[in-house]
C-alpha cells in the first residue's frame, strides 16, 4: 500500500518534470550558442583597449557613435542592397514557386530539386565562378566584345548591379521554398470559388491567391533579407571599392584590425536595423493575419 503510494507519487513527479526535462537540451543549446555569444558581443561592444593590452569593460558608448559616424554609408548600402536583392528574389521566386506548385504536376519534386541543385556547390565557389564568367574579358563579355556586339569598355563587375544580382542569385531558393510550401497546400477550391464568384484570373490571384500566400512571402523575405544584408562575399567578389557592404567592414575590423569593440558595435547596429525593418514590415503586412494563416 505504502509502496504503491510512493510509486504513484514518484510517477506524478516524473510526469510533471518530463516536459521540462525534454525541453532542457533546447534551452541549453540556446543558452550556449545564442544567449552567451550575444551577451559576449554586447559586453565587447562597450569595452576599450587593444588585442595586445587586453580589453576592459568601460561602458564605452562611444563605440556606437564611432561606428555610425564612420560606417553609416556602408550600413545604409547594405540595407539597400539586401532590400533590392530581396525584391528581386520575390519578383523571380514567386512565379517560380507558383508555377511549380500549380503547374508542376507529377514533376514537382524534380523542379524543386533543380531549384536546390546550385546548393550542392559551395556558396563562395559559385560566386567566384560568376566573377570569372562575367569578368570584362571573360567567356561571355569577351566573346561578345570580339564579335563587336559590345563596346570594348563595357563591364558588368565592380558595380552595384553585379552585387545585387549576385545576392539575389545566391539566396533565391530561400524565397522559392517557403512560398512554394504555402501555395502547394492551398486548397485549390478557393481559387475555383473565386472564379465561380466572377473573378477572372487576375482578380482571383490578387484577391485570393496572393493574400493567402503572404505568410510564405513573409518567411521568404526574412530568410533572404537578413543574410543578404549581412553578406560580404558577393560585395567582395562581384563589387568594387564603391560597393563595400557592412559585412565586409565587420570582417575587416574583427579579423584584420582586431578592433573587437568597434566591430561588435557595428554588428549590433546592423542587428537593430534589421530587427526594426522586419518588425515594421510585419506590422505593415498585418502580423495577426500572417501568424493566423501560418498557424493553420
Amino acid at each position: 500500500m505504502t509502496m504503491a503510494a510512493t510509486r504513484e507519487g514518484k510517477r506524478g513527479r516524473t510526469a510533471r518534470l518530463a516536459p521540462y526535462a525534454l525541453v532542457l537540451p533546447g534551452w541549453l543549446w540556446l543558452a550556449l550558442f545564442f544567449v552567451a555569444p550575444i551577451a559576449s558581443v554586447i559586453s565587447m561592444s562597450l569595452m576599450t583597449g587593444g588585442l595586445a593590452a587586453g580589453y576592459t569593460f568601460t561602458f564605452e558608448i562611444g563605440n556606437y557613435a564611432r561606428a555610425v559616424e564612420l560606417y553609416w554609408e556602408q550600413i545604409l548600402r547594405s540595407l539597400l542592397y539586401g532590400g533590392l536583392a530581396t525584391l528581386l528574389c520575390v519578383a523571380i521566386g514567386y512565379p517560380v514557386a507558383y508555377w511549380i506548385a500549380f503547374k508542376g504536376g507529377a514533376y514537382k519534386s524534380t523542379y524543386l530539386l533543380l531549384v536546390l541543385l546550385p546548393f550542392f556547390v559551395s556558396f563562395v565557389l559559385r560566386t567566384i565562378s560568376w566573377g570569372f564568367i562575367l569578368s570584362d574579358n571573360g567567356v561571355v563579355l569577351g566573346t561578345l566584345k570580339s564579335l563587336g556586339l559590345l563596346p570594348g569598355d563595357f563591364g558588368v563587375l565592380n558595380s552595384a548591379t553585379a552585387v545585387v544580382f549576385g545576392l539575389a542569385y545566391n539566396f533565391l531558393p530561400f524565397m522559392v521554398l517557403p512560398i512554394y510550401a504555402v501555395l502547394e497546400r492551398m486548397d485549390h477550391g478557393v481559387v475555383e470559388a473565386a472564379h465561380d464568384l466572377y473573378a477572372g484570373r487576375v482578380q482571383a490571384f490578387v484577391r485570393v491567391v496572393l493574400p493567402m500566400s503572404l505568410p510564405g512571402v513573409f518567411a521568404g523575405v526574412i530568410m533572404v533579407f537578413i543574410p543578404t544584408s549581412a553578406d560580404y562575399v558577393n560585395a567582395t567578389v562581384l563589387g568594387g571599392a564603391d560597393n563595400t557592404m557592412i559585412g565586409k567592414v565587420i570582417q575587416t575590423q574583427y579579423l584584420v584590425n582586431n578592433a573587437y569593440p568597434l566591430a561588435a558595435a557595428i554588428t549590433f547596429i546592423l542587428m537593430a536595423a534589421l530587427l526594426i525593418g522586419i518588425f515594421s514590415y510585419a506590422k505593415a503586412l498585418g502580423t495577426e493575419q500572417v501568424m493566423e494563416v501560418q498557424a493553420r
Partner: protein, 380 residues
C-alpha cells in the same frame, strides 16, 4: 426573409423565356486521360432542369455526378455535347462569366477575409454599389441566420456556420442556378438533418434552381423535387423521389436507393398486368410484370411493404413461408431477415407500434406477404 422573394430577379427574368429550362444538358460526355488510358467519366447525359426546381444528382462516388456539375459550373469542359443556361449555349464560357454559383464540398471560404468580405466577394466583382452590397450581404446573412458574425474570420466558425457562410456567399449573387457539391458531407448527423430542412426552406424562400450533388440517398429523397440517379457516367433513372423509390427502373437503382429485396424466378403464367412467378423451392407469387411466360425475372419488393405473420394470410396477397434468421431492434422499427425456401433472404421492416402483433423470434417459422402490385420485375 420576405424581401428575398420580393426582390426583382432581373437577370433570371431576362433569361426565363416561357418553358425554357434553367439548365439543359444535351448529350454531354466527358473523357479524361489518366495514367495513359482514357477514362469515360460521363457518357452522353441529357437533362433538363426546370426553373425553381430542387434537382439532385445522386450516385456512388465515381458515377460522374460531380463531373456533370462541374461542367455546368464551367470548371470542366465537356468532350462533346452542349450546356445551356436559360437556353443560351455556355459550353465554352469561363466559370466567372456564368450566372451560376457553387457551394463547394470543402466550403472553400477565403480564410483571410471576414464573413462579410467572403459574402460580398461576388457582388464586389460585379461592381455593385457599396450601399447595395451592405444591404444584400445583411439580407443573405439573415437568410442563413448568421447576422452578427460579419467581422468574424471563417476559421473561428464551426463547421455548420462555415457551411452557412458558403451558402450565403453563393446565394447573395442571386444566380440563375445554385450548384451544391455534397455540401453537408462534413457535418455530423444531427446537424446534417437540420441543414437539410434549412436548405429546403431557403430554396423555397428564394425560388432559385438548386442542383444538389450527393451520394446520400436519404438526403436526395428528403429535399429533391426530382432526382437523377447516376451510375457509370449515365443517368439510370430520372424521377420524383417517390417514383425513384417506389418504382426503381433498374437493378442498380433498386439496390442503391433504400433497401430492396430481390427474388429470382420464372414467369409461370399471366393475366393482364399481373404475372405468376415461380420461385424455385419457395413457391409462387403474383407480381406486376410484362415479361412473357417462361422468362427469368428478378422481382423487387421494398421491406416496409412486406407483412409478417405466424399464420398463412388469406386473400390475394402474394405470400411465401420462411424462417426468421435475424432480428435487429432499431427503436422505432425492427428489421427482420427471413430465409425463404429457395435459400434467398428477404428483409422486413416493422414499425414498433403499441398495437403491433407480437414480435417474431429468431428461428420461428413465419409467412411474409405483400400486395401483388408492390412487387414488380426489374428489366434485364
Amino acid at each position: 426573409m420576405a424581401t428575398a422573394t420580393e426582390e426583382p430577379r432581373t437577370r433570371h427574368d431576362a433569361g426565363a423565356r416561357a418553358g425554357t429550362p434553367a439548365i439543359s444538358l444535351e448529350q454531354i460526355s466527358k473523357a479524361y486521360r489518366s495514367g495513359g488510358e482514357d477514362v469515360q467519366a460521363v457518357r452522353g447525359i441529357d437533362l433538363r432542369i426546370e426553373q425553381g426546381e430542387f434537382f439532385s444528382l445522386l450516385g456512388p462516388s465515381g458515377c460522374g455526378k460531380t463531373t456533370t456539375m462541374r461542367m455546368v459550373a464551367g470548371f470542366e469542359s465537356p468532350t462533346s455535347g452542349t450546356v445551356r443556361l436559360h437556353g443560351d449555349d455556355v459550353t465554352g464560357v469561363a466559370p466567372h462569366r456564368r450566372d451560376v454559383n457553387m457551394v463547394f464540398q470543402s466550403y472553400a471560404l477565403f480564410p483571410h477575409m471576414t464573413v462579410f468580405d467572403n459574402v460580398a466577394f461576388g457582388l464586389r466583382r460585379k461592381r455593385e454599389a457599396s450601399g447595395e452590397i451592405r444591404r444584400k450581404v445583411a439580407e443573405a446573412l439573415e437568410l442563413v441566420e448568421l447576422n452578427g458574425r460579419e467581422r468574424t474570420k471563417p476559421g473561428r466558425l464551426s463547421g455548420g456556420q462555415q457551411q452557412r457562410v458558403a451558402l450565403a456567399r453563393a446565394l447573395v449573387n442571386r444566380p440563375s442556378a445554385l450548384l451544391l457539391d455534397e455540401p453537408l458531407g462534413a457535418l455530423d448527423l444531427k446537424l446534417r438533418q437540420a441543414m437539410q430542412m434549412e436548405l429546403k426552406r431557403i430554396q423555397r424562400d428564394v425560388g432559385i434552381t438548386f442542383v444538389y450533388v450527393t451520394h446520400d440517398q436519404g438526403e436526395a429523397l428528403t429535399m429533391s423535387d426530382r432526382i437523377a440517379v447516376m451510375n457509370g457516367g449515365r443517368v439510370e433513372q430520372l424521377g420524383t423521389p417517390a417514383e425513384v423509390y417506389e418504382r426503381p427502373a433498374t437493378r442498380f437503382t433498386a439496390g442503391f436507393i433504400g433497401t430492396s429485396n430481390l427474388l429470382s424466378g420464372t414467369v409461370a403464367g399471366r393475366s393482364g398486368e399481373v404475372a405468376t412467378v415461380r420461385i424455385e423451392g419457395a413457391g409462387e407469387v403474383r407480381a406486376s410484370c410484362d415479361a412473357p411466360a417462361g422468362a427469368r425475372v428478378d422481382l423487387t419488393v421494398r421491406p416496409e411493404k412486406i407483412a409478417m405473420e405466424a399464420e398463412e394470410p388469406a386473400g390475394d396477397r402474394a405470400r411465401l413461408a420462411g424462417t426468421v434468421t435475424e432480428v435487429v431492434y432499431l427503436g422505432s422499427a425492427t428489421h427482420y431477415t427471413v430465409r425463404l425456401g429457395d435459400g434467398s433472404e428477404v428483409v422486413v421492416f416493422r414499425q414498433n407500434a403499441s398495437d403491433a402483433a407480437s414480435a417474431a423470434e429468431r428461428g420461428e417459422t413465419v409467412w411474409v406477404s405483400w400486395r401483388p402490385e408492390h412487387a414488380y420485375a426489374l428489366p434485364g
